[in-house]
Structure formats: C-alpha cells, structure tokens
Amino acid sequence: MSIPVNTSFSADVAATSSLCQGATDVAADAARRTAAAVAAFELDAPSAESEAWRYGPINELDLDAYVPQLTAPTDPVLPETPAIEGAAATVTIVDGWITSIDLDADWVDKGLTVAQGDPSGRTSLDADDVDRIDRLHEAFAPAPLQITVKRSLTVDAPIVIHNHHSGAGVAAFPHVVVEAAANAEVTVVEHQTSGEGAGLAVPLVEMRADDAARLRYVTVQELDTAMWQLGRQISSAGSQASLVSGIAAFGGAYARVRTDTRLAGRGASGDLISVYYADGDQVHDFRTFQHHDAPDTLSDLLFKGTVDDRAGSIYTGLIHIHEDGRGSNAHQTNRNIKLSEDAWAWSVPNLEIENNDVRCSHASTVSPVDTDQRFYLHARGVPPTVADRLIVAGFFREVIARFPSPALQETVRGLVDTKLDRRLVAETNGNVA
C-alpha cells in the first residue's frame, strides 16, 4: 500500500501507543488512528483553488514543518490569561493534551462533569464533509475534554479553558466536547495562547444543546503572530435551545475557524458573534454555516473586523434554510474596517433557501473609517489618531455587547484597545502615513 509519507504525520506515527491514552482497546485505537492518517493523505491537500479555502494562504501550508505532539507535555510554561472570578471549573490544555482540571466539588455533586472524554475518536463531523485537516485531527488528537451538564442544571459560573500551544514546530489537535442536557445552562470560555514561533493548531469544538438548553461558548484567540490555526466548531441545538458562539480573534499568522451551526429542533436559536482585528501580515478567516433544519428557528450572525497594515480578513458564510425551516429568521452581517491602503478584506455572504415562509437578511461591508464620522470628531476638537481610535472601538461596541458576561466584554474590549494602542504608538513614531 502506498501512503504518501510525511514522516511527522505518517500512519506509523499515528499508531504510536502513547496517543492511545484512555483507550480500552489499544490495538483498536492504533488501527483507527492509522486508518485516519492514511485517509488524510488519500484526500487532496486543502487548496485555495477550492471554494472552501478560497482567498486564504492555505497553499502555503507545509505539514513537514510541524511535528505532532504525541505525549502530554511536561512542565509547560503558560502565559497569564485574564483571571475569571469564581469559575465552576478551570481546565488547562497544552498542545492538545489535558494537563489539569480543577473542578469545584459542589458542581460535581450538582451534575457537572468536566473530564477526559471518550477516546474513540468519534465526532459529530459530517463524514461526507471532512478534509485532510479533519482526518489528521482524527488521527492525532488526544482524548477530548468532555463537559457535560445534567438535565435542568444551571451552571451560573463559567467553565474556563486555557488552551495553550507551545509554539514553533509543534502541531497540536485540541478537542473539546460540550453537551448541555435538556434545560441545562452552561458558559464556556476558552482562552487560546501560544509560545513564540510558527506552530500549527487544529482545534475542534463540538457542542450539543438539547431541548431548551442554553449553551454559550466563547473563544478568545491570542496566538503568537507566527502561528497557524485551522479550527472547526460544530454545534447543534434542539427544540427551544439557544446557542451562543463568540469568537474574538487577535493572534495568528493565519487563523481560520469554520463554524457549523445546526438548528435542529423547532424554535432553536443561534447567536453567532465575532470580533477580529488583524494587523501586520496576519490573516483572519471565518467560514460559517447556519443550518435551519427545523421550523421557527432563529439565527443571528454578526461578525465585525478590522484590518490594518498589510493584514487581511476573509468571511464566507452560508445561511441554509431547509425545506422544513418554515417561519425561520436568519440574519448574517459582516462588517469590516480597513485602516490602511494595503489591508484587505473579502466578505462573501450567501443564502440558500428551500422554504418560502422565512425572513432572511445578509449584509456585508468593507470600507475605511467613515470620512464624515472622522470629520465630525475632528470638528469637535478630537485629534485624528484619537478620533480613529474612538470610531474603531465604537464600531466594535455593538458586537462586544453581545458577548456573555461583563468581565468577558471587558477582556475583549481590552484586547481591541491593545491593538489600537499599538497603532497609536506606530503613528506617533511616524510609521504610518
């Protein structure tokens, strides 16, 4: 059998027993991983010529530059992340491996589980819609972090995950599964950080909100600016359930997240929000799917970004209303501010509607800072750099206000401010025209 061999990602490596941690049948686990690694290289390499990866730098992906993390890292050095008071659980994941779980005993008694989960490699990804990267995740991901909330339990304190990547040369495949049983409520905040250098992060988050459950998952991405991230997030919501997916992206050389949200039960809702800010040579890439499979479902997507210097952003999104989706409301808005001539943004919203009794809207803009807004502030005595800063911060305000907690909103606002401060310093030093 010929296997296109990338030594780091070969079937032999995938079969490495150290990865089989948690598996009851080690041989079966090794065989499964081997098969996934083989399958990965039977698929075409992801390519910017395909619709799924268009506009981005995916053709520059060189898997040979990375080595998968096959064992749990020992003594990782982690950067500080904003402290979140009174978390129900705090988890640390390093290079895909769970290195610590601190779960409040009271919550255990009430029915919250935060633990290493099913190592079988099963996921909710659509088997007909997986690519090489998904297959590599299947082959190389350690056992997932499993968060399960018992029926009707409201976890009114956040579960905090610090997902760290050690940086240069490492490929990591973190995997988080969140399941909120009927009428349960939970908020998960994932903070992504990395060491320096060009590493590859391939995170997968799966979410399931059963009937009437409320599930919120917020990712704050602060990877090193040399990092590549090829992430996926897949979620489903049952009848009357509500999902909130928030992504605040600031780091990465190329940071991409594909989000698949399936409103599967009648009256389910999904609030999909993102704040992103790319500068230098960064590229942020979002691909979203809003599937309305059931009647009277509601989705509201608002992605707002800023690109500066030579940085770019890509938004491609599809609202899909299934023929059973009558009475659905679907909204999709992507707005981008371009702060420099050389910055760029692609924004491509799409609709596919198979039922006439629906309300859908999509809007998309890419523009510099509004000249009239700027003039108004200048005319009232606000200096240009300060005016632009106020306008950009103001631009993000409505979406930040939709993030779940005031503390989290403050964190995201602070990260936007950090980017704006950098810009202000650059302008003061005369680096920007």
Binding site: T365, V366, Q373, F375, Y376, G381, V382, F395, E398
Partner: protein, 263 residues
C-alpha cells in the same frame, strides 16, 4: 474681543469653483446671518471654514484673532475657537457624546472632571434628554434632537465663533426657541460671535441677527440689517440671480458603507 476675518475666500469642490472671493468679518457678541439660494455656497462656506476634506481653498485668507485658520488641521481649528453646528450631524455608532467631548477636553488639557457637570447643565438648558449623553452620537436621534445635541456641544465647548448651518431644520417651534435662546445667551455670557447660515427667515425670528448678508454665486452680494431677511422672505432670491443649478456637494466615497468585496 475675538474676530474672525474672511477675506477674498475662494474655494472649489471637485474642480468646480464655489466660493469666488468672499469677505466677511464676525466679532464677539455679533450675530450674522448668511442667507442665499440653494447652491450659492452656504454649506461650502461652513465646511471650508472647518477644513472638511473634499474642498480646495484656491485663494483668500481666514484668520481668527490673527491666527491663520486655513493652515490648521480641523481639530486645531476647533481648539482655536471655531465651532460648526452641522446641518446633518453625523451618526457615530458606539461613540458617546461624553467620550467625544472627553477626548476633545483631553487634547486641550481642559479638566474633564468639569465635563460631566457641564453636560448636565447644558442638557437642562435646552431640554436635551440626559439619556442621550451616554448613547452613541446622533444614532436614532430625531432631527430636532440632533440639533439640540449640536447646541449642547456649543454650550460645553464655549467657542469664540460658532457657525450654525441650517440650525432650524428639524426643530419644532418650542425647540427652535430654546436653542435660539441658548445661542443668544452665549453671545452675552461668553461673547460668542455667531454666523448663522440659513435659507429661510424662520430661525431669524427667534435668533435676531445684527447683520444679514446675501450669498449668491460664491460672493456676499448684499448686506443689511434684520429687515433684509424679512425682505428676502417676501421676495425670494430672484433679485440676486438665483443660480442655474445647485452645485453638488462632493461625494464622500465611503460614507454609507460601500459593498466593496473586491478590495
């Protein structure tokens, strides 16, 4: 005593000459009204005095107390003491009045501690709902509320000279009276000099001008007292050579969020 002196001002937009040698002097405490037909260059005058992008000054001078206003960027003109009350105040999503004026105070090294108090006092004086102070600037405000907001800022910033471009549009009679009284009070309290730009006489029945000028084809073609305004109300601008066609304002290319996916 402050003095805004405009001499021989010429300006064009998109290559079209609009102001063609305009002379006007405004001193502290005076209220001047510039009236004229559509397209005469009234709004252009207000924009050029504040340095709005899209206009080119091709001749003449503008000084405020001897300082060359045209040499300054817009924000410094504001600190020099010029205020423009805009005809169409711009909506600025996510930025509050408090934040904007706070940044302006900071830039002038003024005490921002006094700002909140000043905002409340000024809001009360013109019947501006306090809830708008912390909301996004001009967003979801009615036309009248926007004009009150402009007047409130005039009160807080205490400029030397205020240019009020079509201040009356959108205001009902009561609001017009309150706003006019506030401006008039400023001429006495802080010696504000006022340049009112208006098409109709309506505002001038409340805010009494000392001098009325007719602007036509980019020049002041007649000056007089309040009686001139009343006369214009009756006769219209026909006598001053109503211009053939209104000159378009320069386009602001990205004003309304252009779908521009191919950048």
């Amino acid at each position: 005593m402050s003095e805004l002196i405009i001499e021989g001002l010429e300006a064009s937009a998109a290559g079209n000459p609009i102001l063609r040698g305009l002379d006007l002097t405004i001193r502290s405490g005076e209220v001047h009204a510039v009236m004229g037909p559509n397209g005469a260059g009234k709004s252009t005058l207000s924009h050029v005095l504040l340095g709005k992008p899209g206009y080119e000054v091709t001749g003449g001078t503008v000084t405020l107390d001897g300082e060359d206003l045209l040499a300054m960027p817009t924000w410094q003109r504001a600190h020099a003491g010029i205020f423009l009350g805009m005809q169409y105040p711009t909506e600025v999503p996510g930025v509050s009045l408090q934040e904007m004026l706070g940044a302006s105070f900071d830039a002038a090294d003024k005490d921002t501690a006094a700002l909140d108090e000043a905002l409340l006092v000024e809001a009360a004086r013109i019947g501006f709902d306090e809830k708008f102070l912390s909301r996004a600037l001009n967003v979801d405000l009615s036309g009248g509320e926007k004009k009150r907001n402009e007047t409130l800022q005039l009160g807080v910033l205490q400029p030397k000279i205020a240019i009020l471009d079509e201040l009356d549009s959108g205001l009902d009679v009561d609001a017009l009276r309150m706003v006019s009284q506030r401006v008039e009070a400023a001429t006495e309290e802080t010696g504000l000099g006022v340049l009112v730009i208006t098409h109709y006489n309506r505002l001038l029945t409340e805010l009494k001008p000392d001098h009325v000028h007719v602007l036509a084809k980019g020049q002041i073609v007649a000056s007089g007292d309040a009686a001139l305004a009343a006369e214009l109300e009756d006769t219209g601008y026909g006598a001053y050579g109503e211009v053939e066609a209104a000159v378009a304002e320069p386009a602001t290319p990205f004003a309304s969020g252009v779908l521009d996916v191919f950048e």
